[in-house]
Amino acid sequence: MSGLNESDPYWGTRALDFVDAIDRANTPGEVANLLAKEIEQAGFHAYLIIGLPESQTSSNNSFKHRILAKGWPIGWTELYVKEGLAAFDPVPRYAAQTMDPFVWSKAPYDPVREQRAEYVMKRAIDFQLAEGFCVPIHTDDGPGSVVSLGGERPELTRSIRSAMHLISLYSFHRMKSLLKTKKLNDRVLSPRERDILAWIATGLTSAAVAEKLGLSETTVLTHITSAQRKLNAPNRIATVVAALRRGEITL
């Protein structure tokens, strides 16, 4: 099953069939299941799809919010966050600097001067994450993302790496599109209500918003009350916060 040359027909076919199949997945859960099942064939038992941090120093605070999909061993994420390992992990650090996929053990760090990095890699072994494969994704918007696959002794032949590369890229895209659609479908506010709340969020009074949008203040207040009811919020500030959190409006 493991290929000796680059054009291994077994993994070639598997990867291309996967690309076709993932397009037919209709929920983020389906994408996750297909991905988990596929990578298992190459000896991976864990995956993480996550946005890269704006900077590595602040990366631990934002870790959980950056996750798109998680199939990590129980306890590992908790430990990772509790001990602030994101700030020392050489894998995301290298992913931020390279366009091509790499095996975890190739992510460079200085074992003498960066003992925390060494610690992350050693600690992962306790969770059966001795080796892995990381696929960086850099589009033009923001710091990029990764799909990271882990296991105890995954097969990492050239053709399996190529197959995992394609599988990861297309899983990422499908997952992201479905999450976006879900967010849009989950929206409950009208465009006008979102518009008004977005202005309120910048600090404008309802009178100022009314003037800005060419509406009467009564109309603006009616829209705010309606949004407040839909979001089940007790007051105006809570309405704005709820709208932001749900992605109804952005800053």
């Binding site: 054009s7 366009m99 033009d140 895209h173």
Partner: protein, 215 residues
């Protein structure tokens, strides 16, 4: 804003100065900058076997200066994928059909990359390429490209599908892909790349090939 011109055998006499700048720009980018030394030419013009009478160039110019481009050849003739890297299509097979073209040599000159222009030069070239395909009745594009481009194409609505596993070509992780030319991909490109609409200029080509212009 840069203009995006269609340049081919039918109108190249109107673009001799632009084409000269174009081949020099390619030499600067692929030889001087990217160090693909096998493409080096003593006269500083990077021209290869795919620059022929059936080649079509989508060229973005500011004034008469070339700032970005994409090249197209019919897949029934010689192509990069078919004749140089056929292994890239080992999974699904080569695409060779009269209504499919291969794209190559997509570039933006160094000082006009990224946010140096609005919309980005790269976006104008991509939108122009899809517009050309629609206008000329092309059904598919094939591309030999570095694999990291896949998510970028997907994000702008170009539904690229690999024809085989990625392979290493001269230290670059490359893949062969095919994608459909259709209105939804074109509209998605305009939307995601903030391009207002049609971008192509068809100087000297009015009579020949513009009958099926995009609605």
């Amino acid at each position: 804003m840069a203009e995006v011109h269609v340049v081919c055998a039918g109108n190249r006499h109107l673009y001799e100065d632009v084409l000269d700048d174009y081949f020099r720009a390619r030499h600067r980018i692929y030889v001087d900058e990217r160090r693909w030394m096998e493409l080096a030419k003593p006269d500083g013009r990077e021209i290869d076997q795919f620059d022929g009478p059936t080649t079509v160039y989508i060229i973005a110019i500011e004034g008469r200066r070339v700032v970005g481009s994409q090249r197209m050849v019919p897949t029934c003739g010689p192509t990069l994928m078919g004749d140089v890297f056929p292994r890239l299509a080992a999974g699904r097979g080569l695409v060779r059909r009269p209504d499919a073209c291969e794209l190559s040599r997509m570039f933006v000159v160094r000082d006009r990359r990224g946010d140096a222009a609005h919309p980005r030069i790269e976006s104008l070239v991509m939108a122009g390429t899809m517009e050309y395909g629609l206008a000329e009745g092309i059904r598919q594009f094939t591309i030999v490209m570095e694999t990291w481009w896949i998510p970028r194409f997907l994000a702008m609505g170009w539904k690229v599908r690999p024809l085989g596993l990625p392979i290493d070509i001269g230290g670059m992780n490359c893949v062969g892909v095919v994608l459909d030319v259709n209105m939804s991909s074109w509209r998605e490109t305009l939307r995601t790349r903030s391009v207002a609409g049609h971008v192509l200029v068809w100087n000297g080509l009015e009579s020949s090939s513009t009958a099926s212009r995009v609605a």
